[in-house]
């Protein structure tokens, strides 16, 4: 759990990731996929990251792992800024990633043991074939795969099993920090629960830290200690999981939470949904000031003039909105 006096395991400072997009002859416009995002993840904590499609969640995850070179800002891992190649190489043995699509994230020409063993081979973690074999079987056992599956190919497995293979691969380097990029959104609901619970168990056993990216709010609420909400490349709200559900402050978060289906029709009827007008604007042509102002029911003139600060309203509850106080009277 987050403690204020501890140094964070992952400290993301003003991270920016712009992709150049060709908009004509010899003209490129930066696509601001991630624009000035800062947050911290404590050791052993799970930070949920939610937002609608295209808001930059995945890019945040990949940029933290330096799969994309950050345009600006820095990532400090365990007190060490990740800057040059040596830092990145070191960081690669500490952090791994679980991917969204269990179909395209496994090489169809490799056996399960080769897929899981790939990080071991890349980092030369095992000296001989026997150690490697043992390590792989141990990993497979840990994620609930049979040892007889080791010589099979990925296409012989179901989606849930394939995702387990992907998780076993991400555990192969004994990481501390795992970026889970929508790991359950391609699975059906019954399998989702199994995989989510497995993530929970692995965290308890191995003391893992997760950045859990998802768009399913219920899943995120179940697994996360804290939740961050992103909109159009910017972080709009960050708070403890229960806090953000019970007292959402940002109008976008309010709307998101109100859209979560509630299994009890009596409560569901009593709750009022807050529908949003219009679509998410193109990140190539983002609105000035607050990115949410074009759809915000509370937007004022000053929202168009300046981007609101990401400020701490109550302890551990950050929000980026000019009118937080007025709205939440």
């Amino acid at each position: 759990m987050a403690q204020a006096n501890e140094t964070p395991l992952v400290d993301v400072r003003h991270l920016k990731e712009y992709f150049p997009v060709n908009t004509g002859f010899f003209k490129t416009t930066p696509l601001k996929a991630v624009d000035d995002v800062s947050f911290q993840i404590m050791r052993g904590e799970t930070l949920g990251l939610v937002g609608e499609s295209g808001c930059g969640k995945t890019t945040v995850g990949r940029t933290i792992l330096h799969l994309y070179e950050p345009t600006d800002g820095e990532v400090v891992y365990d007190g060490r800024p990740i800057k040059n190649k040596a830092d990145i190489d070191w960081f690669r043995t500490k952090s791994t990633m679980v991917f969204q699509d269990p179909y395209s994230s496994l090489n169809p020409r490799m056996t399960v043991s080769d897929i899981i063993g790939e990080p071991i081979d890349v980092h030369h973690l095992c000296d001989n074939a026997k150690d490697r074999e043992e390590k792989i079987l141990q990993l497979m056992d840990r994620v609930g795969l049979n040892s007889e599956h080791a010589s099979r190919y990925a296409h012989e497995f179901s989606g849930g099993q394939r995702q387990r293979i992907g998780i076993a691969r991400s555990l192969a380097v004994d990481p501390e920090f795992i970026v889970c990029d929508e790991p359950v959104s391609a699975l059906d609901v019954s399998i989702q629960a199994q995989v989510i619970n497995m993530f929970d168990e692995l965290q308890d056993e191995m003391g893992l830290t997760y950045l859990f990216i998802a768009h399913d709010l219920l899943v995120v609420r179940h697994i996360s200690d804290r939740i961050a909400v992103m909109y159009l490349g910017k972080m709009v709200e960050l708070a403890d999981a229960e806090e953000i559900y019970d007292h959402p402050l940002h109008p976008y978060t309010k709307s998101l939470i109100s859209a979560v289906p509630i299994p009890d029709p009596k409560i569901a009827r009593a709750n009022k949904r807050i529908p949003l007008q219009g679509d998410i604007p193109s990140p190539l042509n983002a609105p000035s000031g607050c990115p949410f102002r074009t759809r915000c029911p509370y937007a004022q003139e000053r929202c168009a003039e300046s981007m609101p600060d990401f400020k701490e309203v109550t302890a551990g509850h950050f929000v980026a909105c000019h009118r937080t106080e007025e709205i939440n009277e």
Binding site: L67, F99, S104, N107, V122, R152, Y153, A172
Partner: protein, 352 residues
């Protein structure tokens, strides 16, 4: 339990607990099948491809082994023997015909090996020349395709993997080579290289092969890699976007590792197929050049040069043109059909 006759309720007594054997039967998995085995199974099911594969194998094996056991050689002029006057009766024999010397030997009760396709105008056994020509043509086709494969694969994968400026430069070179009329280039290069390479090769092992064949290989390496490079670049570009490549990057894999374990194995089927289809086109080019007199050096036959020589006596000995033409057609057709079969069997995108 009493139920109404119209009840849809399932009678639970119909269900029996499964025995251990039945349970074991249900969880049995099919044996693990690799991509390669699946492809071979599909290939052998395809009758046309299978038959052409057998034809190609037969032609290849006979072109390799027949010259070893055949009593005649492709270059001995049977009528010319040291210490004897030239015997012109060996020249221009019709198929299965014997020369006067051989007939005399047969009279004496000796066995004489027949000239199945007769002899040519220098008194050389035509059958073994065809077999030897097939060997040369196949070898040229095979090695030229290997050269094309190596050059095309290297440049294509570098272009696809590096992207950006490197990709642009390589692809513009490809465009330039594509826009040149390739037959003209081939003929020009072949005639220039015959002049320049000839003296260099003098006295080396390569002289036996002949400067024309060497220049043919160089031409293939210079001009024919383009389509292979484009193909492989396209494959690499699409494979690079796959998440398993990103996954490998996220574990810290270097470029070499990614190319070796992820990119090449995943486009190997495309590579094999296009190489198989490249062989007949190389054989065709070789035959064409030999026909124009730019192919193999004099005593050595190739199917193209045999056909070219046969033109002189086309009215009297038309079979000498027909036989190499048929062999070329068989090889080219067989390899093309086999290549098509390979593509159908191994390219999963076409199967869906």
């Amino acid at each position: 339990m009493a139920t109404s006759p119209l009840s849809m309720q399932v009678d639970m007594d119909d269900f029996l607990p499964a025995s251990e054997e039945e349970k074991a039967y249900m969880v049995q998995m099919r044996p693990s099948s690799t991509f390669f085995r699946d492809g071979c199974r599909r290939l052998f099911k395809n009758k046309v491809a299978f038959v052409s594969m057998i034809v190609i194998i037969l032609i290849t094996l006979s072109s390799i082994f027949l010259p070893m056991v055949w009593p005649y050689s492709y270059k001995t002029q049977l009528g010319v023997q040291p210490g004897h006057p030239v015997d012109p009766s060996f020249n221009n024999l019709a198929p299965m015909e014997y020369s006067t010397t051989e007939l005399a030997a047969k009279e004496r009760g000796e066995t004489v090996f027949p000239h199945i396709f007769g002899t040519d105008d220098h008194g050389r056994d035509y059958f073994i020349r065809i077999v030897y020509g097939t060997r040369i043509s196949l070898a040229v086709g095979f090695f030229a395709s290997i050269i094309v494969l190596v050059v095309g694969m290297t440049l294509g994968s570098v272009a696809g993997f590096m992207g950006g400026r490197v990709d642009m430069v390589i692809m513009r070179i490809v465009d330039v080579i594509y826009s040149l009329p390739d037959m003209l280039m081939v003929i020009l290069l072949a005639s220039v290289m015959r002049e320049t390479l000839g003296p260099v090769l003098e006295g080396t092992v390569l002289q036996a092969i002949g400067s024309n064949i060497i220049s043919l290989f160089i031409i293939f390496a210079l001009l024919y890699w383009c389509s292979m490079a484009r193909l492989i670049r396209g494959q690499i570009l699409s494979l690079r976007e796959q998440e398993y490549v990103l996954a490998a990057e996220s574990t810290g894999a270097k470029a070499g590792w990614i190319i070796k374990t992820h990119l090449i194995p995943n486009c190997i089927s495309v590579i094999i197929i296009s190489t198989a289809l490249q062989i007949p086109s190389a054989i065709f080019t070789e035959s064409f050049l030999s026909f124009l007199g730019l192919g193999v050096n004099a005593p050595m036959p190739s199917l193209g040069s045999l056909a070219s020589e046969a033109l002189n006596g086309i009215t009297s000995y038309s079979y000498r043109l027909v036989i190499p033409a048929i062999v070329i057609s068989l090889i080219v057709l067989g390899l093309n059909l086999f290549g098509d079969g390979l593509r159908d069997a191994f390219d999963p995108k076409l199967n869906q």
